[in-house]
Subunit: 412 residues, 2 copies
């Protein structure tokens, strides 16, 4: 897998999108569709599958071969999966049904844009195709706002979501300076704290929030959380907190567990689309302050993080486009299957090169925020994280604080 | 009040900010501060009160006379109240204490940037000043994301918050097209539905969400809500809903009432900073669909709506600056007190003129979304609303839908 093999076949191509959308996932789609047009000798028709594998199984395919380039460019800048998305893990039987349909359409190339669950789907499809002796090139094109794929410096989709989170905290820090109190913001991130850590990217001085950052990588203690908040509040007269939706206690149980019922076919629990974790944490803080009446508020950023238009990181736009192109180049140059990973250069200026890796690198696995990006106390990020993330997010708006000579009080 | 009177006095000026911040409230601050520099013969020193009237009472004043213009320009673009905000209604006694302090600093001009509660504060201060024979010019400079002040076409702060909400819904509509199900978004708006109505500004076709819009002006029926959602879901296979945090039942009771405990000194209940209304409505929908398992999610946009940097409407920026300038012009040209209202021209192109009105126009009162902006069924906005709001929000990002020839299915 992932190795170069016999010459690429002639045939048609299917591309699909899967999992939670991002604001640049259509860049990858358009990157792949336009790259395929450069290989008309090999790839004759480009079909888009509506809602991923569900669209293959249901024969809900749309011909993208003739869609005009300027329309594709507008789609590239539109958030969320233009083909529709799905959360579905196909069975072996479903794979065989898909191959029947693909054979009927002479499909020899399959591209699947998504996260680790989508890579797993691609891996299953490739494995069954090999077993069935169906000659299909299968590529996973990475996207995830969680930034938790293995074997890559970072993932397309992360930079833009991180930018949204950073800007949201920049504004909310000003709001919290202005009206004080304790503010808790719950950020997406099921297993990895990368997105929550991005809350710190817009800090402008030592008093800037978020003052506390809790990620799934560090066991969350409710008692320590409340005492952390009280300490910060005593120091600054206010406290802004960033919390991952996926924080767990020291037994690995989700703090949000008590509020959750929905589970998808990959076994993931629904963490987003509810404000209950934030409200629960706000309740803990209110209780912790006891009779001292403190303004405590919680917001849950929710789906805005992955779908807000007009804010994408330019680096992310460029890279998301590129991984789509590179996947097609890999498939047409003889690779059988793979995922596209991004490797950061060691030099001073930010540089990325792209590499084809086996699907098994990414399928099902998740990575975590490295320990060096989390402070010793487990409640904040380090300088090393900021250096890692800044190039991915791009230049942020500039907030300025009002300072001036204090007017001498008069005697009253 | 509001009438021109004797020549403007010589003295110093205090300016403060109050109530919920906006992303352009500092434009009004900077507009007033810079305008005062044009009247050095009358206004000698400009003092900023930290956290509004609390900063006057506590003598927490900062001298803004010497702050450099380029620094002020950066502050103007920074979200939230740079001087700090407060929610406090002063007593007559506190007014007298403030006048003692003001006399000590030779203050003859008082400007207060805020919503209707802040106008009430300004009105109280002016009334007591007249009673006490303290010669003080008192002006309210309007701001509110709720757009619910009387006697004005719209309010500075609304256009930018409306832009955030419109963009958020544009992205979330794409997200909902991609993953289907029912999505409920709770939007700020205690009494007025203007901000929730802005959810409709980014629609691109007849299938675009939000499909349902519920505002506080129309009595909310839980039963009708669930049947509305089921009808839309049956038609589109999905449903995106915008709901004001301030929706009430037919007895005028807040739907959110069961979750609320906090009340501020103006008697307002805390509606924001909690996800419970959204979660409650999502629960109703899940129950309404019964055994039919439907993906239902709720997000509460929260404080991001009023503080998100880098997204402000250009019209809003310009107008927020202008109301600050106009207030100073009014005070120095002999008006005793007042608020600044904005009047829209009748012409085809968007034009605003500014007018000084009595503080009593605005103090404590709120306006509502006119009935003509709400559809007959009470669950959506009309074309007239879109025409009203578009110039305030400015050009939105362009979303494009992927359409193409459907591939003919093969027989399997």
């Amino acid at each position: 897998m992932g190795k170069k093999g016999p010459k690429a076949p002639q045939g048609n191509m299917i591309i699909g999108q899967s999992g939670g959308p991002t604001v640049v996932i259509n860049q990858s789609l358009v990157g792949a569709v336009l790259a395929a047009r450069n290989w008309k000798g090999l790839i004759r028709k480009v079909y888009g599958a509506r809602h991923g594998v569900a669209g293959v199984l249901g024969q809900d395919l749309v011909d993208l071969s003739e869609v005009a380039r300027n329309k594709l460019e507008l789609i590239a800048h539109t958030p969320s999966a233009a083909l529709g998305s799905v959360r579905k893990k196909p069975t072996e039987n479903e794979c065989r049904r898909m191959f029947n349909i693909m054979r009927g359409h002479d499909v020899r190339y399959f591209f699947y844009i998504g996260g680790n669950d989508s890579a797993e789907t691609a891996h299953i499809i490739y494995t069954v195709a090999v077993d069935e002796d169906y000659d299909l090139r299968v590529f996973h094109i990475p996207k995830t706002i969680d930034n938790d794929l293995r074997g890559t410096d970072h993932c397309p989709g992360y930079g833009s979501a991180a930018r949204f989170v950073a800007q949201a905290f920049m504004g909310d820090d000003m709001d919290n300076r202005s009206l004080k109190g304790v503010k808790i913001n719950v950020v997406m991130g099921r297993h990895a704290g990368f997105l929550t850590a991005a809350s710190a990217l817009g800090r402008i001085d030592r008093k800037s929030g978020p003052h506390l950052v809790y990620v799934p990588e560090i066991a969350f203690s409710e008692g320590k959380f409340v005492s952390d908040v009280k300490r910060v509040h005593a120091e600054h007269g206010r406290c802004l907190v960033a919390v991952s939706e996926g924080i767990t206690d020291r037994y690995g149980r989700l703090i949000a567990e008590k509020f959750i019922s929905d589970v998808d076919s990959h076994g993931n629990k629904q963490l987003s689309g509810t404000g209950s974790l934030g409200d629960y944490l706000a309740g803990l803080v209110k209780k912790g302050f006891g009779r001292q009446s403190i303004r405590v508020r919680a917001d849950t950023f929710g789906y805005l993080q992955r779908s807000f238009p007009g804010l994408a990181s330019q680096t992310d736009i460029t890279e998301a486009r590129k991984v789509g192109e590179v996947a097609v180049e890999a498939a047409t140059s003889g690779h059988q299957s793979g995922t596209i990973s991004m490797i950061r250069g060691d030099g001073k200026s930010y540089r990325i090169r792209y590499k084809v890796r086996p699907l098994s690198t990414v399928a099902r696995h998740t990575t975590h925020l490295p320990r060096k990006y989390i402070n010793r106390d487990g409640n904040n990020v380090t300088r090393a994280f900021i250096e890692y993330a800044v190039p991915l997010v791009g230049k942020l708006p500039q907030n300025e604080l009002l300072t001036g000579r204090k007017v001498n009080p008069i005697k009253t």
